[in-house]
Structure formats: structure tokens, C-alpha cells
């Protein structure tokens, strides 16, 4: 009876409760570790239109808000419940408050009480707890092939999920950031599991993501961490109704730190000029599809770089194709395979060449330089020069100009084609020509001879002019002795008593003396001129008188023959005058 009364009381209470609208906020855990998840739920037992949720800036919203609604009838009384659920993750250690949520129902507004969450250090899973078991069975791992690389040397990275238990829909919460790297994703079509042995235990793994990191900067890099929510199904050890093992889903958060990456600079020593950033171990190959072609046929020139390294970033060297060979844009091919140990593959350019003209053409050898991180040295690959032998060449013919506008009125004489003129039928004189006259000795001889001859004319003339006064001087010098010789003749006439001849000789002696000695022209030889010449030198009246007398005597003797004359005296006077003149002039 008493028991019944309690039930009644309880019922009364509940009805009383149902009658009252309640709006509550609840968390499943009030103490969580950093990076752990918890659930916050806001519930109202009335039909409310919308919820105004507080801010969750201290936490990360991992899931939700998800709305829920349920209606139930108890003893004909309809009750309704609405809820909003959020999956939150704790970010930092500390005590945080989730503020009040507001809503309206039946015209009244309701608020919840704030919730206080204490966040403690992670890993506070108690040993042997189901959470710890989950973390041991299922976790993520970042695998790199190398952590110390040279600039440009690719690092292959895998995000691996170790799953020794079933995992539901997982979710990335935080991913590393790759500043200073170029990330090249490797497509994974479908996540596949595989069996690996980790620490001696057979393990099922799955690669979630594969990519390459190509360092662009030198230094040490802390790239952050990878954090994932992994709904892990853990067997509870119990069995359900049908005897199947019962599992429980643990919404665990798994974190893996990205290993520290050290990027070393490429050494400067021995860096080749053709180095263009390739890091790895490569091989350069060039080839021609054939070496001998006819003009107009095509040849394929292949340039290929293959090997291991940052093959995505390398540039193929460009071949130097001679201008006279038509070259088309290359057909590009690549194959890049990413292996846990690195990247392998090739890049290939295929050039279509169409030579037109006959001849042997060279395609110079190419060089490709790269840094080999294994030997830690620069290496250069050089290919051999390739030769294309074009056996039959085309001779460019000019196109006849046929596209001329049609003129209806007149027919312009259009050239149908161009051709060379006909041969010349009448030859000019056939002559064997020697070297130019310009270089023949005769030319030089004639030119020099004529020049010298002309020069000679002037020289001769000059000499002639120069020697003229010399004759006069000589005559002047000899005038005295000549006059004496003449007087000797006169003396002979004197002895022969030839008066007229004697005076003739005497006069001639004097005249010639004056002609040569005083430059007196024969026509000017007279007493006045003679006196004048003597007076210019000396006022010797005696000598002038003697000469005047002698000239007059001689002249008169010539024209009016003297019968009687003192020839001896005149001869002596003449001789004496001549001696005086010699002293004077």
C-alpha cells in the first residue's frame, strides 16, 4: 500500500514536471584532456522554434550542431523534446565556460545555465581503459623517406593509418602546413589496406595520403602535426543477443607530429653552368628515329631525361635544330612514379623535324646537369652530336604568279613562269688575259720614267740657269789673260808694222776685256761708257784719259789709216792700262 502511494506521488511529480518547460545544457564529460572530444547537448521539452547557441571559441566544433526531435505520449499526454548536439574538441589546457543558450517556447524565453569544462593534459587515459586500447589499435603515422635533404631533393611523405580494429568515417582535424615546400599530391584512387610488419607485429595499414615535398628554401622546418578523429570500434568482450561480439565506438583523436625536416643548401663548389635545379640521379638521352632522310620526309628527335629525383621540376634541355630544318613544337610525355624511396620516372620531348634541303645537318649535343645527393656532387650528362643526312634536297622553285586580278577589257601580259634566259650564241673574242696592266712592270717603269723625266726637265733647266752666271764669272776671271793674249797678237802686228791690224787687235782686246770683266755689251763699248765704269770705281782721271785716248786712236786708225803712229808707245800704254784695270776691276 505504501509502495503504491509512492508511485502515485512519483507520477504526480512527473506530471508536474512535464507541465513545466525545461531548457538544459549538458556535457557528457566535464573534465577532458587536450585534443579529446566531448559532447554538449542542449535540450528543451517543448516545441521551440530556434536555438540561440553560445559561442564555442575556446573549443573546436568537430561535429554538429545536429538537431534532434522526439515526441512521446504518456497517459495521453503528449510530450515533446528538441535537442541540439555539438561535438567539441578541447584545444588548450584550462577551465572554460560555455555560455548560456537561449530559446523561445510558448511565448516565453528560456536560458540554460553555463557549463564549466576543465581541460587537462592529454594522455590522461587511464591505463587499461578502453580509450587507451583504442589508441593502441588504431592510430595515424607520418612516414617520410628522408628527413635531411638537399634543396630541391624530393621527400616522399605518406600518411598511414594503422588499423588493427575497424574504423568508421574518419575526419581530418588538423593537417601540417608546408610553407617553403612544393607539394605534389599523388592520386590515391581508393584507400587500400595492406599487411605490414611494424615492430615485429603483423599490422594492417592503409595509406590515406601520399605526396611529395620539394624543398624550396634552406633551413629547418617544423611543419606541424596531423590530427584526425578516428571513430574506432573496440570489442567490449561481450556478445550480443545473437552471439556476435559487441563493439563500442570510441571517438578517439589521433595525433602525429611531422618529423623535423632539415633542408641543406646545394654546394656552390663545382656548380656547372647548365645546372637548372635538378636534384637526383638522372640520365639524358637523345636519339633520332633515323639518320638518313629525303627532303620533305620527317624525322623524330627524342630528348629524354630519366632517373630518380625531383623529376617534376626539371626542364628538358632544348635541342638546337638548324634553321633550314622545319621543327615543330615537341610532343611531351612524362611518367612519374612515386615510391617510398623517392620518385622515379622520365620526361620526354619528341620533336618532329622535316628537313627540306639537301645536306648533312648537325644537331649539337645537349648537356644536362644535376646535383646528385647520393654522391653529394654535381654531375653533367652530355650527349653526342646527332647527324641528319638529307640525301635528296628540294630546290626552291618560285611560284608562277597566277593570282592576278582579271581584267576584262585588256589582257595584261602575265608571266606564266620565270626562267633563266637562253644561252649566248655569239661569243666575244676569246682572249687569254694576263694580269692587270696595273701590276705589270711596264706600268711602273713607264710611270716612274715619265715622272723622273719631267722632274729631270726641271732639274736640267735649273742647272742651266745656275751655270749661266758661272760662265760670266769664268770669263771675268780670264778677261785679263785673254786681253793679254790679244795684246800679244797686237804685238805681232806691231812687229810686222801692220798699223790697221795692230789697232784692231788693241781695240778688240779692250772691248772683250770690258765685255767679260764689266759685262759691257759690245754695242755699248765707247769712251763714255768706259769712263763711266772706271769712274764708278775710282776717280783716276789718268787711266780714263789713257783709255779714251787709246780707243779714239784705235778707232781713227781703223777708219782713217794712220801713216805715222807711235805704235810702240800705244802698245805700252795699253799694257799698262790693262794692268791698272786688272787691279781696279
Amino acid at each position: 500500500m505504501k509502495k503504491f502511494a509512492y508511485i502515485l506521488l512519483l507520477l504526480a511529480c512527473t506530471t508536474q514536471l512535464f507541465a513545466q518547460v525545461q531548457f538544459t545544457a549538458q556535457a557528457n564529460r566535464y573534465k577532458v584532456g587536450v585534443g579529446e572530444m566531448f559532447i554538449v547537448e542542449f535540450k528543451i521539452n517543448a516545441n521551440s522554434s530556434d536555438f540561440k547557441l553560445p559561442s564555442f571559441q575556446d573549443f573546436k566544433i568537430v561535429g554538429g550542431p545536429s538537431h534532434g526531435q522526439s515526441t512521446s505520449y504518456i497517459n495521453g499526454v503528449r510530450s515533446m523534446e528538441k535537442s541540439v548536439r555539438l561535438d567539441l574538441m578541447a584545444l588548450k589546457k584550462g577551465t572554460y565556460t560555455i555560455g548560456a543558450a537561449k530559446t523561445e517556447a510558448n511565448g516565453d524565453s528560456y536560458t540554460t545555465k553555463p557549463i564549466t569544462i576543465t581541460v587537462v593534459d592529454a594522455g590522461t587515459n587511464q591505463p587499461g581503459s578502453i580509450e587507451e586500447k583504442a589508441a593502441q589499435l588504431v592510430y595515424i603515422n607520418i612516414l617520410t623517406n628522408k628527413n635531411k635533404v638537399y634543396l630541391g631533393e624530393p621527400i616522399s611523405v605518406r600518411y598511414t593509418l594503422i588499423l588493427n580494429a575497424n574504423v568508421g568515417q574518419f575526419e581530418y582535424l588538423e593537417t601540417p602546413e608546408f610553407l617553403g615546400f612544393v607539394k605534389n599530391d599523388i592520386e590515391i584512387k581508393q584507400i587500400q589496406t595492406k599487411q605490414e610488419t611494424i615492430n615485429g607485429n603483423p599490422t594492417t595499414t592503409a595509406d590515406l595520403s601520399k605526396f611529395l615535398l620539394i624543398p624550396q628554401q634552406v633551413g629547418e622546418f617544423d611543419l606541424g602535426k596531423l590530427q584526425m578523429r578516428l571513430p574506432t570500434q573496440i570489442p567490449t568482450g561481450r556478445r550480443d543477443w545473437f552471439g556476435n561480439p559487441e563493439t563500442r565506438t570510441i571517438n578517439q583523436i589521433s595525433t602525429s607530429k611531422f618529423p623535423k625536416i632539415t633542408v641543406l643548401p646545394l654546394p656552390n663548389a663545382g656548380k656547372p653552368a647548365s645546372f637548372n635545379g635538378a636534384v637526383g640521379n638522372f640520365e639524358l638521352k637523345t636519339s633520332l628515329s633515323r639518320n638518313e632522310v629525303k627532303g620533305g620526309e620527317s624525322v623524330t628527335l627524342t630528348v629524354e631525361v630519366s632517373g630518380k629525383g625531383n623529376i617534376q621540376l626539371i626542364e628538358l634541355p632544348e635541342p638546337q635544330v638548324p634553321n633550314s630544318i622545319e621543327s615543330y613544337d615537341p610532343k611531351y610525355k612524362e611518367s612519374i612514379n612515386v615510391l617510398p624511396t623517392g620518385v622515379k620516372g622520365y620526361k620526354r620531348n619528341e620533336y618532329l623535324l622535316i628537313p627540306q634541303y639537301k645536306g648533312v645537318y648537325k644537331i649539337p649535343g645537349l648537356t644536362f646537369s644535376f646535383f646528385n645527393p647520393y654522391t653529394e656532387q654535381y654531375e653533367t650528362q652530355t650527349t653526342e652530336e646527332l647527324l641528319i643526312d638529307v640525301t635528296e634536297g628540294e630546290i626552291a622553285k618560285t611560284n608562277p604568279s597566277q593570282n592576278k586580278p582579271i581584267n576584262n577589257d585588256k589582257n595584261e601580259v602575265t608571266a606564266l613562269g620565270e626562267d633563266i634566259g637562253f644561252i649566248q650564241l655569239t661569243p666575244s673574242e676569246f682572249e687569254l688575259k694576263g694580269p692587270s696592266f696595273f701590276v705589270q712592270p711596264l706600268h711602273y717603269i713607264l710611270a716612274i720614267a715619265l715622272f723622273l723625266a719631267t722632274l729631270g726637265l726641271f732639274v736640267y733647266n735649273r742647272i742651266r740657269q745656275k751655270f749661266k752666271p758661272d760662265y760670266a764669272a769664268k770669263a771675268r776671271k780670264n778677261a785679263g789673260s785673254n786681253a793679254k793674249k790679244q795684246l800679244k797678237l797686237a804685238h805681232q802686228k806691231l812687229q810686222a808694222n801692220q798699223i790697221k791690224e795692230f789697232y784692231g787687235e788693241l781695240l778688240a782686246a779692250l772691248q772683250k776685256y770690258f765685255q767679260f770683266k764689266a759685262n759691257l755689251a759690245p754695242a755699248d763699248f765707247n769712251t763714255e761708257r768706259v769712263a763711266e765704269i772706271i769712274n764708278q770705281k775710282q776717280k783716276d782721271g789718268e787711266l780714263a784719259q789713257s783709255l779714251t785716248y787709246l780707243i779714239n786712236q784705235a778707232n781713227s786708225a781703223r777708219y782713217a789709216p794712220l801713216t805715222q803712229a807711235n805704235m810702240k808707245q800705244d802698245y805700252d800704254l795699253g799694257l799698262k792700262s790693262l794692268e791698272k784695270l786688272e787691279d781696279l776691276l
Binding site: 634541303y357 630546290i395 666575244s428 696595273f438 719631267t454 726637265l457 726641271f458
Partner: protein, 246 residues
């Protein structure tokens, strides 16, 4: 059969040595008209081999080569003919046509006006004629000097003598310039193509490729190499065996 043809050709060339150039020229023309260009080439060549530097022979030989699609020899012989007869329009026309078959093209450097005038003026006569003219002027100088000095001291005589002396110097200068132009050595590429190197050695770097028929000027030679200059001013070394002198 082939041997017989070769023998026949050799026979022709031997007999050609004895024949006179007029007969050979007529025979070659007949061969050309009959369309036997190979024989025409042999016959014209035999005239050249006799030592005749004859423009019509070079011209006809070039025509025969042109018909045989021998671009290099055709241009070579047109150039030879043109060198002997620079104003001949027929040669110029045929040469222009043959040059269309040449692969190489150049941006010809402009010649300075003064150089062009010198070249045009000096090309009025040959260097021989210019030289003779110089001698004539010198002779005139001598005669007028003689008249002035020994016959009559008229000032007109000495004036003429001075003018003719200056003319003689000028004309001899032009003769020298013309002789230099005549001595300029040009070559035509006769192999289908040839690599021009930076130095006279096979190991030297390739500068550019020249093709058959391209004409260039020779600057120098060394061993088996000729230093050439192209119309656009490029300079390099080429193997002597790939070219022929004009």
C-alpha cells in the same frame, strides 16, 4: 654502258684540249640546245680549262648547271661571268633567278655612300685602262713641261702640266682602288651545306650553317680553311673544299 659514257666524256675532253675555243663553244651550244646539259657542261668546262676567262662561256656553263639543278655551280659561274661583264643585264637576271634557289638569306648591311661612289666610279674602266690613262696623263705632263721650259714660257703650258700631273696621280689612285676591287676574292658555297666555325679547326664551335649557292667574301686563309665575311657582316671560318672561288 656507264663506263662507255665516261670514256666518251673523257674522249671529248681530251679532244677539246686540241680544239679551238670557237669550235668548242659552238659544240657546247649545240649540246645545250639538244638538251644534253651534261655534255654542254663538259664542253664549256673544257673552254675554261684552256685558260680562257670568257664571260659568255661562264654564262652558258651556268645556264647548263642551272638546268641540271646544280645551284652552287650555276651561281658560281654566273658570278664569274658577271665579274667579267658587270653591266650585263642577262647575267644579272639569270643570277637573280638562280639565287632564289639559295636557302640562306641575309640582311645586307648598307654600304656607306662614299664607298659606293668610289666603287661605282672606279668600275667605269678596268684597272688596266685606268693605269694606261695614268701613263697618258704623265706623258702629257712631260710634254707640257718641256714646252714651258724650252720652247715658250707661256703660263698655259705650265698650268696644263700641273693639271695633268694631278690627274695622273688621281687616276693611278683609282687604278689602285679598282685593282683592289678586282683582287677581292669571293667564293660560292658549292657543297650542299657547310658549317662555319669560329676558328680554323674542326673542334671549333659552329657559328652558323651556309647552304649551296651562298656568296661570301674571303678575308684570309689558313691551312684548309678560309676566313669569310657574309653580306650581313658575320665572319667565320669555312673549309676550303666546300667552296669555290669566283
Amino acid at each position: 654502258m656507264k663506263k662507255a659514257i665516261v670514256f666518251f666524256l673523257v674522249l671529248i675532253s681530251i679532244s677539246a684540249l686540241r680544239a679551238n675555243p670557237q669550235e668548242l663553244f659552238a659544240k657546247a651550244n649545240q649540246a645545250y640546245q639538244a638538251g644534253d646539259f651534261n655534255q654542254a657542261v663538259v664542253l664549256y668546262d673544257s673552254i675554261v680549262n684552256l685558260g680562257y676567262n670568257h664571260p659568255e662561256t661562264y654564262f652558258n656553263l651556268a645556264n647548263a648547271h642551272y638546268r641540271l639543278n646544280h645551284v652552287g655551280p650555276a651561281i658560281l659561274n654566273y658570278e664569274k661571268a658577271l665579274k667579267l661583264d658587270p653591266k650585263n643585264e642577262e647575267i644579272q637576271h639569270n643570277l637573280a633567278l638562280a639565287n632564289k634557289a639559295v636557302v640562306d638569306e641575309f640582311n645586307v648591311l648598307p654600304t656607306p655612300a662614299i664607298a659606293r661612289i668610289t666603287r661605282d666610279f672606279s668600275s667605269i674602266f678596268s684597272s688596266s685602262t685606268w693605269s694606261v690613262l695614268g701613263i697618258v696623263f704623265l706623258l702629257a705632263t712631260f710634254l707640257f713641261s718641256f714646252l714651258f721650259l724650252f720652247v715658250n714660257q707661256k703660263s698655259v703650258f705650265i698650268a696644263v702640266a700641273v693639271i695633268t700631273l694631278f690627274s695622273a696621280v688621281l687616276v693611278e689612285g683609282v687604278a689602285y682602288q679598282k685593282y683592289l676591287f678586282e683582287q677581292e676574292r669571293f667564293v660560292v658555297i658549292t657543297s650542299s651545306n657547310s658549317y662555319v666555325k669560329s676558328a680554323p679547326a674542326t673542334t671549333a664551335e659552329d657559328l652558323f650553317i651556309l647552304h649551296e649557292g651562298t656568296k661570301c667574301k674571303v678575308l684570309d686563309e689558313f691551312d684548309e680553311w678560309q676566313k669569310i665575311k657574309l653580306p650581313d657582316g658575320k665572319i667565320g671560318w669555312i673549309k676550303t673544299e666546300t667552296i669555290s672561288a669566283i
